[in-house]
């Protein structure tokens, strides 16, 4: 009975897996030369990802990733009001190919993320760019249990943020301003 109580206490302290916050996954610094003159794009679809399960693993699902990606594209000016009557120039597809969080210290979590992207020019329907972007991020907790869970959350959010930061740089190189 005592063991059972102890187990329940441990489970209560450990808590459930926190969910990721899309707003925390948007890179804070995005530089775009001239967003008003740049070409625009629409986000076609996001596939892959994992819904959070019963374990204490924190994962990113396609809905949360989509929200973060839209926020990033908007901040970078790619979703800026499209020119009147003109459709967007490009279509972006994203597939969350893999994600993994590993505990690498007593209180440190490192998250790895691999996302495959494809940019299609809408006028020609041709791929102008496709690549898989790999990112990782390490977060540290301060005390055990709840802080470790927070670190799991921050590590996943950080890996997404890094990935989206790289994506914007890559799109910038492909999509030249008019």
């Amino acid at each position: 009975m005592r063991s059972l109580s102890l187990l329940l206490i441990v489970l209560a302290i450990s808590g459930c897996a926190p969910s990721v916050r899309p707003t925390s996954m948007i890179p804070s610094v995005i530089t775009r030369q001239d967003s008003s003159a740049g070409k625009t794009l629409v986000l076609a679809e996001v596939t892959g990802g994992e819904k959070p399960g019963l374990s204490n693993q924190v994962t990113i699902d396609k809905q949360a990733f989509r929200e973060a990606l839209l926020g990033t594209l908007e901040r970078a000016g790619f979703l800026a009001p499209t020119r009147k009557g003109e459709p967007a120039d490009y279509e972006l597809h994203a597939d969350i190919a893999g994600q993994l969080s590993l505990q690498i210290g007593s209180l440190a979590i490192r998250s790895h993320l691999l996302v495959s992207y494809r940019l299609i020019e809408r006028s020609t329907k041709k791929d102008v760019w496709k690549d898989a972007i790999y990112s990782k991020y390490q977060a540290e907790g301060k005390t055990y249990a709840t802080e470790l869970q927070k670190a799991r959350q921050e590590a996943v959010e950080g890996a997404v943020r890094e990935n989206l930061g790289q994506l914007i740089q890559r799109i910038e190189a492909v999509v030249k301003p008019r």
């Binding site: 893999g98 790895h112 990782k136």
Partner: protein, 172 residues
């Protein structure tokens, strides 16, 4: 209090984690297919860690990749003349930390051995990129039972890559 009852609980954690945890992450690009390749060109693994390591980790992984590919029945491009379609496996060591089994003995999760390799899959004839494989592996426990992890983790990572390539070539 019967102390013997608790001995297994004290010993078990020492073994837990003596294996390398982690799983491969694979992205195959839209419209790309790996099925049918019988010959693979394994380029020497580059060291992209930015660190000078105690031994030639990249060369050790290259050797593992070569022997594992051959053991799966694939031909290595540099051992046969005039090959048909060739799949290039271009890999880089993204991160490596040798860790310490002694530190792991005293504190699980500390002193972890870490190895991450990134592999690009390229069709030699067209030069087209077909996909990417990332394998992050870590040994974070096991204490003294994990002695030598700094070497055997390389074989585990190489095996993950080869298994993943083989799976895709066989269309599984």
């Amino acid at each position: 209090m019967n102390v013997k009852r608790f001995v297994p609980f004290l010993i078990c954690p020492l073994f837990i984690g003596s294996c390398a945890t982690g799983t491969p992450m694979t992205a195959i690009y839209e419209g790309a297919s790996l099925t049918g390749y019988k010959t693979v060109e394994i380029t020497p693994v580059s060291n992209d860690t930015g660190k000078t390591l105690d031994f030639d980790v990249a060369a050790a992984i290259t050797q593992h990749l070569r022997s594992l590919m051959q053991s799966k029945g694939y031909r290595l491009a540099d051992t046969v003349a005039g090959s048909d379609d060739v799949l290039i496996l271009k890999s880089s060591l993204a991160e490596y930390e040798s860790g310490s089994a002694l530190v792991r003995w005293f504190a699980t999760f500390e002193g972890a051995t870490i190895c991450t390799v990134r592999s690009s899959l390229i069709d030699k004839r067209t030069g087209n990129a077909l996909g990417e494989i990332i394998v992050p592996r870590i040994v974070s426990g096991g204490g003294l039972y994990s002695v030598g992890a700094d070497r055997w983790i390389l074989g585990v990572v190489a095996s993950d890559i080869v298994d993943e390539v083989d799976k895709r070539i066989r269309g599984r």
